[in-house]
Symmetry: D2
Subunit: 154 residues, 4 copies
């Protein structure tokens, strides 16, 4: 029981241009980079335009967001995410994403599902998760002429 | 950057009698052992009676179940969990718990939330998660004369 | 992005007799149930005899232990794990396992590696992790006539 | 058991200038953003200069790296991480970081510890983990006149 593992030596790189951004409406874009269906992990990169708003949702696992350009905020908070911002959203957090500047770019590393809520803040209208987002990404990529992207599904 | 951490030396033990089983109806019982609200982790121990059935639900994170007595199964599968069984339920799995024998005892280590589904298998009727279950456990324990249990909330 | 995932419907059951306990010396036994090499997760079940002692080690991830029979403790703590005990060991915790009663049986759900320390409590003498333990388990099982066990490698 | 959790509503934002980069030698810099000691999670941002090389190490948990400027690679692989690159390093992966261009900037979200290896690739010379790196960051920040940074320790 005290052996040393050599382990898998398989770091996987996905370069900036290895996967397409698909249009999801209004100039907003989505790239799905990595999904671990068994773990409930999904990693996406979004480009949002000013005025974009995502429905209020609650997370069932923790989320880590890395912003590289533009500006966005949660309607429920005062702070603004800009290039270089890190955001930690624990499981159970509830918020409404609003984009403030054009070409706002963010990586989201998300565990669990987004429970999208009605205006009352409690009724669940839909669920967004990794496998569903991956299916949507594949479909949009093919419809938009990118073929099937080589997402890291681990 | 090559220092060695001494680290926190704080393993926490919860003995079999340190927390009460609360009655949740029909002789079925619940003990909430550990909740990490930020991580979406919750660990419970249940005692189920024959005929108990939990609503069909989908998990948003992985679940690990350790059975120590009795017998239970998912309606969707043939295998039966008995003393010594280990069950792995990946994120996204959907099933309906049915208890087959009296005093069936199981530890569940769960990540994320249970999305309880309507009979159609897709409409979400309610959500069960760690913080909500912890509140219910506190309330039942106090109502049943156990006081407020010292659950590990980390 | 608001589709509902059907998800993988693949809960995996490992019954008490589906995998062998291999002898690791002195009547102490090991069963490796589940390894997720990419996640650093490993789940084992041990049977320890009175007097068994594991080297002092530090964990690099959290550990959750479920005891079903016998008695064991960490030399650094007063409490004793018995049937029905739950033990939480956060990342960074350091301890020396000592078995107090025969046929002590424990499930360990472990994240990361065990850094086995010299008597000085800081020098690392060896590392025990999931892939290395799995290799040892396969080798012992084959040497002891059990063939290659069907461990859940996810 | 079917209550809906309100959950903690506490997303935490760390802006680009909220925490200092400390000098770690040769113009290379470190910012420690978030440490969860119990989980073994640590999130840092580095600025590396061309020629910087980190010792060969093995990870005990998975790592996710987000590059925002410059260029770096692992000596063991051909691909180069540039602005917009995502890198996945599973638990058990072993590699030697080499920086190729000035002011290369990377966020690392790391689970578990880095086991720094001798030239033979197996002997462990030291261990780098979240709590140890946090202590080093605090000490360097104070020595370099930044005071004690308000790292997210969750």
């Amino acid at each position: 029981m005290t052996t040393i593992s050599e382990g898998p030596d398989l770091s996987i790189h996905i370069g900036a241009d290895d996967l397409p951004f698909v249009e999801i409406g209004g100039g907003n874009k989505l790239k799905v980079i990595c999904v671990k269906p068994q773990e409930g992990l999904w990693i996406v990169e979004n480009v949002f335009q000013a005025g974009f708003q995502a429905p209020i949702h609650r997370h069932t696992g923790p989320v880590y967001a890395y912003t590289t350009s533009g500006a966005w905020k949660y309607a429920e908070y005062d702070y603004v995410n800009r290039a270089g911002s890190f955001l930690y959203e624990p499981a159970g957090s509830v918020h409404t994403l609003t984009c403030l500047e054009p070409d706002t770019r963010v990586w989201f590393q998300m565990y669990g599902a987004n429970l999208n809520l009605a205006a009352d803040g409690t009724t669940i209208e839909s669920v967004t998760d990794g496998p569903g987002t991956l299916r949507a990404y594949y479909a949009l990529a093919e419809a938009q002429g990118f073929g099937r992207p080589n997402v890291l599904v681990a």
